[in-house]
């Protein structure tokens, strides 16, 4: 049996330094490649960013340009007035037409009545004449009979016969002058009733028209008032918009002037406190007020519970003493 040599250790893993160096070189190469690739990708991304920059966000909603308002209160008032005039004239014309129609109908009715009466009178007179002629004939016959020796009629009986005849004639005359055929009377009454009904309906229609006209007038007045209010509101809005650039311009001008004077925008130096003696102001307890600054005559406000007051123009400080009464300034 071979004896093992325990004193000289056997290498377990044989590592060839040359091959290790090569492997390391491989890894180094790979590392460099990866780094180069990463740098290349980065450059590509930069190039893409430059060639296709991100779109800036859309600006928020802005209102530009002028405002075109088509509200003319004068024109609207004029239109309203013209419309009301036109409607009024139409109503008046309608009323006139109705009146004329009614009058014409009334005239025709009266004419028809008169014609009827005339014809009746004529027929009555004709009848009367006929009766008179008949009576006269009878009288003549009687007279002839008396003359021929017939039974003599006494003067009294003749007179009474004549009287009766006259009475009859009078009766006929009265009937012929005042009385009318009943059917015609009925027709006339019907016409009267019709005319009264037409008159009533006309009056009702006139009242209704008047009422409608009043309502129309009120509606038109309301419309005119609303349009005036709308125009005033729009005018105030326009003034606000119109003054915005002026305010803006004023602010910019002030900023430029202040910059030229050497002040920094955004940071405000506190108002310089006056080193002259402190001023005291007496003010009622719990009340706010204002006083005139002793230094620059600008108004200085005093809060309801303030213990101090400062002039915003010159920076003069006032201490506030609370008492009953009006605020005054005392110099210490």
């Amino acid at each position: 049996m071979a004896v093992k040599d325990v004193f000289s250790p056997k290498p377990v893993n044989q590592i060839d330094p040359k091959s290790t160096k090569e492997e390391l070189g491989e890894w180094e190469k790979k590392r460099k490649e990866a780094k180069a690739q990463r740098e290349y990708m980065e450059e590509q991304r930069n190039i893409d960013r430059i060639l296709q920059p991100e779109q800036p966000p859309e600006p928020q909603f802005q209102v530009r340009g002028g405002v075109n308002i088509d509200i003319d209160p004068l024109r609207d008032a004029k239109e309203a007035r013209e419309t009301s005039e036109r409607v009024r004239k139409e109503k008046e014309d309608e009323v006139k037409e109705e009146k004329a129609k009614r009058e014409r109908a009334e005239e025709e009715r009266r004419k028809a009545e008169d014609d009827l009466k005339k014809s009746e009178m004529a027929s009555a007179i004709k009848e009367l004449g006929g009766q008179f002629a008949t009576a006269l004939k009878e009288m003549n016959t009687k007279i002839d009979a008396v003359k021929a020796g017939a039974d003599p009629v006494s003067l009294v009986s003749q007179f009474s016969a004549l009287e009766q005849l006259t009475k009859k004639i009078n009766e006929i005359r009265m009937e012929g002058g005042g009385g009318v055929n009943p059917s015609i009377q009925l027709e006339i009454t019907k016409l009267n009733i019709e005319s009264a009904r037409a008159e009533r309906e006309f009056q009702v229609k006139m009242k209704q028209d008047d009422r409608n006209w009043e309502l129309e007038k009120i509606k038109l007045q309301d419309q005119r008032y609303f349009k005036q209010q709308e125009a005033e509101r729009q005018q105030r809005k326009d003034d606000m918009f119109a003054s915005a650039p002026q305010v803006l311009g004023g602010a910019i001008a002030r900023g430029i002037m202040e910059k030229q004077a050497g002040r920094v925008s955004g940071s405000v130096p506190p108002p310089t406190t006056s080193k002259t003696p402190q001023h005291h102001v007496e003010a009622p307890v719990g009340e706010a007020g204002e006083v005139e600054c002793a230094g620059c005559s600008q108004p200085v406000a005093i809060g309801p519970t303030a213990r101090n007051a400062v002039c915003s123009n010159c920076g003069m400080k006032y201490s506030v003493r609370r008492i009953e009464g009006q605020p005054t300034i005392e110099e210490e």
Binding site: A251, S265, P299, T305, A306
Partner: protein, 133 residues
């Protein structure tokens, strides 16, 4: 209220970059604030009431168009870091000397104004973040 930066400013901005516009934004903002106060008819009594009632300017007084205008101003101006209580006093002292004096002299009013400025800044910042997302 939506507004448009004047063309003149755009030209200058194009020549000198955004720097000039950025510098102009606070001044424009002063004009906007003065305009808002004028539109609301602010006076000493109204301002005192705001302070005493702890009114929230951004939500209770500023109309939606005012809020939109301020947000747009902030967007174009790159933020509202310039918006401070002193800036507000400076903005209104020419047209509203009494109100400015009130904020300067009355401590309660000064604190209220500072709180309102913080609220406005927060709202504008939140809106800008939302727009970016």
């Amino acid at each position: 209220m939506p507004f448009e930066i004047p063309e003149m400013l755009k030209e200058y901005g194009g020549m000198f970059g955004r720097g000039l516009i950025l510098q102009m934004v606070p001044e424009i903002g002063k004009g906007v604030l003065a305009g808002i106060f004028k539109a609301e008819g602010v006076n000493l009594q109204k301002a005192t009431k705001w302070v005493q009632d702890n009114v929230n300017l951004w939500w209770d007084v500023f109309k939606p168009e005012y809020r939109d205008g301020l947000k747009e101003l902030a967007q174009r101006g790159g933020g509202v870091d310039w918006l401070t209580a002193d800036w507000v006093v400076e903005a209104i002292k020419h047209d509203f000397p009494l109100v400015a004096s009130l904020f300067l002299g009355w401590k309660k009013a000064g604190n209220w104004l500072t709180r309102q400025v913080e609220i406005v800044k927060k709202e504008v910042y939140l809106d800008n973040r939302q727009n970016q997302l």
